[in-house]
Symmetry: C2
Subunit: 517 residues, 2 copies
């Protein structure tokens, strides 16, 4: 058995059976090992940003990591933007990066670069494997680290000689994640004191594990009993929502709107959440979304047991464990009338999306009414561009579809962002995934036109327009999709869009709809 | 005047009038400043790897830098692979990366990451601008650094507040590059002693400036007079070659072939070159391409005056400055007969390429006979994938065409690599560039099949085949190109290929030929 075999075996022992890959020569021994491990599903991406984004989408749905396989520093570099999103989402992910054999680094061959330096900003943990005998321990640690602290990007640098040399070290079975640390009684008391004394001026700010449906039930009971409000943090990886679940409002991204929403609050209690901040900064505007009069207390942090914290708060407040809560009723908006617009697309999707749909939202400025419109849709998951690095939508949908083959994935995708990782469409075709991509074809970085005005820089002139508008030529998304083997149709009316969505839902293959708005 | 204006002005003063950009919110003040500077040509790329690769191609041709404009850490990340190639090519490049305003970093907003750490491995120089008043000095330094040491990737991190705040510092005009340092007499003597005593066992290994046509004339005289051989190093950025120029063989990439070529040599004299190394390492094979009996001496290094070194060597050897040298004769191979194959494509291009064509070579394994076939073509430039990070061809061609609007650019492009940065085709259409892209459509990472065998891992099984073959579905390059506004035709015969090349040459617009082999 060589080091590559040992790595495969350890990943499989750790429950990782899916690898999103774009290998090169330095990874060939690992590729050969994969041939000996038919249990490992290999998914080829034609660009590394697809591999990392798909691994993110996969793990957001299954709550266990996939592996990636990337080629040296440049291959890692291509995957970094979506690793950034995965890191911000605290997605468990074992990111395997091949490197030259240790003895070859001295020659400074053309592809040599500092892989660890590149990996560090987008990883929670980085380790370079020393040699073949180091593989079982290092690989087990990478699996364990990926599941620690609420989810982590664990990057394992795998030199070619550690892959090809014989491994005589004993196998190591990765430990299952330990039980989540409980939140201290001191912090529970801090929270419940605030709730008792300030009641309706308290906000429970929920993120990650505290946003799971069962945690939201507890939060809703606490709010109902104390007059507090529950809100979701701004940037979320995944939200399970829709009819039959406890609804939750999200704090809006614009910092003024966030502050307005929190204006009445005296205390913000963070439960696996971060306080609102401006996505960007603007001259003369505040960077924090927290009003100055508002105290912020971290009650549970990433990797702690947020559910237990909410349970302990409810117990401490003496709340009846059977206290009724209000669940979201089924309420579809109905098909829109009038011309096709961004809002009309969102409304159409909200009206037609099936039960257990997975919505991947990279609609950017076009999706501003998405949460409101889909609030009463059948139960569904929504995955977000939480880290701000555009080009996540198509890969995320790809990974989610591989994770959940029995569910329909609907990717709401801005056109400018779609271009970053359009290669994902090929993987959708290769793997025959049930992904319906709706391109909001507005032929511009529409958000940036708004931002140009917002930073006080006025309207776009000639140079700026050439940088913000995707025209001359316009993109033909049907051809782009068809070129990668994905069926595609362009629509410019609500009726045609609705018909296409229904056709696409009736199949199990990838389908792209270019919605021209 | 704000900091963004000051940056524009300083770049323009430094001779930088082209900016390959994909901006975001944090760059909006710079975008607004570009509106006030119509002299700055802004070229939009729909993915950052296109921007960095195009800036590389531009500067390889004009020997002066372009600027890039990238959006925060993730935007930089997307551009890193081609920055790696530019760094390896020692291309002068001013890489401008926006960042959050300095006061906003404390909030750890979603897009925040360690930009400097990401930039370092792929940059020769990194500087973060402190504030608006720091802009003129920092920008001038970035221009100067980009032109230092034989060409450098100079990364300038530009916080949003440094862009929007008023700049009251005086303008700074970047210094022109100083005269190149001369090579010491000691090293010249070392070289000429070797040439005198070992004559035909000496290799002049030429790279970068020592490969320029006028330098090759000197090297040819030295070789003719002493019996030495001249060779080009393995990885080159640009080679001016063809009829009327001094021909030069390139050391092959496979390390065994490199060693065989150098087997007779006792001394290798490096002139702005690096000694041959294995592109990758293989079990039990040497990493260096230099035979053990061979002494390697660095005569001139990057940023030193290689031409002067060769001149001094010739003078020291008493070589007649008018000693005749043999120039390459015009000799086209003629159109091939038989089926379309990788070699047949190369031969067809060699037969039809016009004078002063710029050939961008990312044909990978399909281009193995390119140098041989085109040796006697009319004078042309050839730009190479020198750093090994695939996805350079289409962007490089884009930048070269912007640099040289009167010349035809022919991009010889492997299909797997083309997918990495296919968004470049849109920029070619937008800018109406005379780029002819020939896709070697073999529907696989063909090189990797060879490499799988070469590392001793045998033939591809099921998992490996799924990672190495780009089939099920095949890519339709015509649709991909047309989707981005580029005219395209697929061919599967030599005749059709030749006809298409001639049609494409007769126009001035981008054209893609999918050559199915």
């Amino acid at each position: 058995m060589n080091g590559a075999d040992a790595l495969c075996d350890t990943l499989l022992e750790g429950g990782i059976d899916t690898c999103f890959a774009n290998p090169g020569t330095s990874e060939m021994h690992f590729v050969a090992a994969l041939d000996r491990k038919p249990q490992m599903r290999c998914v080829l991406a034609l660009f590394e940003g697809v591999a990392t984004g798909a691994a993110d989408g996969y793990a957001r749905m299954l709550e266990r990591p996939a592996a990636t396989l990337l080629h040296l520093g440049p291959g890692l570099a291509n995957g970094l933007a979506n690793l950034h999103n995965a890191r911000r989402a605290r997605t468990p992910l074992v990111n395997i990066v091949g490197d030259h054999s240790s003895q070859h680094l001295q020659y400074d061959a053309p592809l040599t670069c500092d892989v660890a330096s590149l990996a560090a900003p987008m990883s929670h943990w980085v380790r370079r494997i020393n040699d073949a005998d180091d593989v079982p321990v290092a690989a087990a640690e990478s699996v364990e680290r990926s599941l620690a602290d609420g989810g982590a990007v664990a990057t394992l640098i795998f030199p070619a000689d550690a892959a090809w040399n014989a491994c005589s070290a004993p196998p190591v079975i990765p430990n299952a994640p330990p039980a989540l640390p409980q939140v201290s009684q001191r912090r529970i008391a801090l929270a419940t004191n605030a709730l008792r004394t300030h009641g309706d001026r308290v906000v429970l700010l929920l993120g990650a594990q505290a946003l799971k449906p069962e945690a939201r039930v507890l939060a809703a009971r606490i709010c109902d009993a104390t007059g507090a409000r529950m809100l979701a943090q701004q940037s979320n990886a995944r939200l399970e929502r829709g009819a039959g679940r406890v609804p939750v409002l999200r704090i809006p991204y614009p910092v003024e709107q966030a502050r307005a929403m929190l204006d009445r609050a005296s205390h913000i209690l963070l439960l696996d959440a971060t306080a609102p901040v401006g996505f960007f900064s603007y001259p003369g505007k505040p960077g924090s979304g927290v009003p100055e009069h508002c105290a912020v207390h971290a009650i549970s942090s990433s990797g702690e047991d947020a559910y237990q914290a909410l349970q302990a708060m409810a117990d401490d407040l003496g709340i009846d464990p059977n206290r009724p809560v209000i669940y979201q009723a089924l309420a579809r908006p109905g098909l829109p009338t009038g011309a096709l617009s961004a809002d009309a697309i969102v409304q159409t999707v909200a009206t037609l999306m099936p039960e257990q749909a997975i919505i991947c939202d990279e609609a950017i400025s076009s999706g501003r009414r998405l949460l409101e419109m889909t609030a009463g849709a059948p139960p569904h998951d929504m995955l977000f561009l939480n880290g701000g690095a555009i080009g996540i939508g198509l890969p995320l949908a790809t990974g989610a579809a591989i994770a959940c083959p029995d569910r329909a994935v609907i990717c709401l995708q801005a056109d400018g962002s779609a271009m970053y990782t359009l290669q994902a469409l090929w993987t959708q075709a290769r793997e025959n995934l049930h992904v319906i991509t709706i391109i909001f074809s507005n032929r511009s970085y529409a958000l940036l036109h708004q931002e140009l005005a917002k930073v006080g820089a006025g309207r776009a002139g000639q140079n700026a327009s050439r940088l913000l508008d995707i025209v001359e030529p316009s993109l033909d998304w049907c051809k782009l999709a068809q070129g990668m083997g994905v069926e595609a149709v362009a629509v410019d009316t609500v009726r045609a869009l609705a018909d296409c969505i229904q056709v696409a839902l009736s199949r199990s293959t990838p389908f792209l709809i270019e919605a021209r708005i």
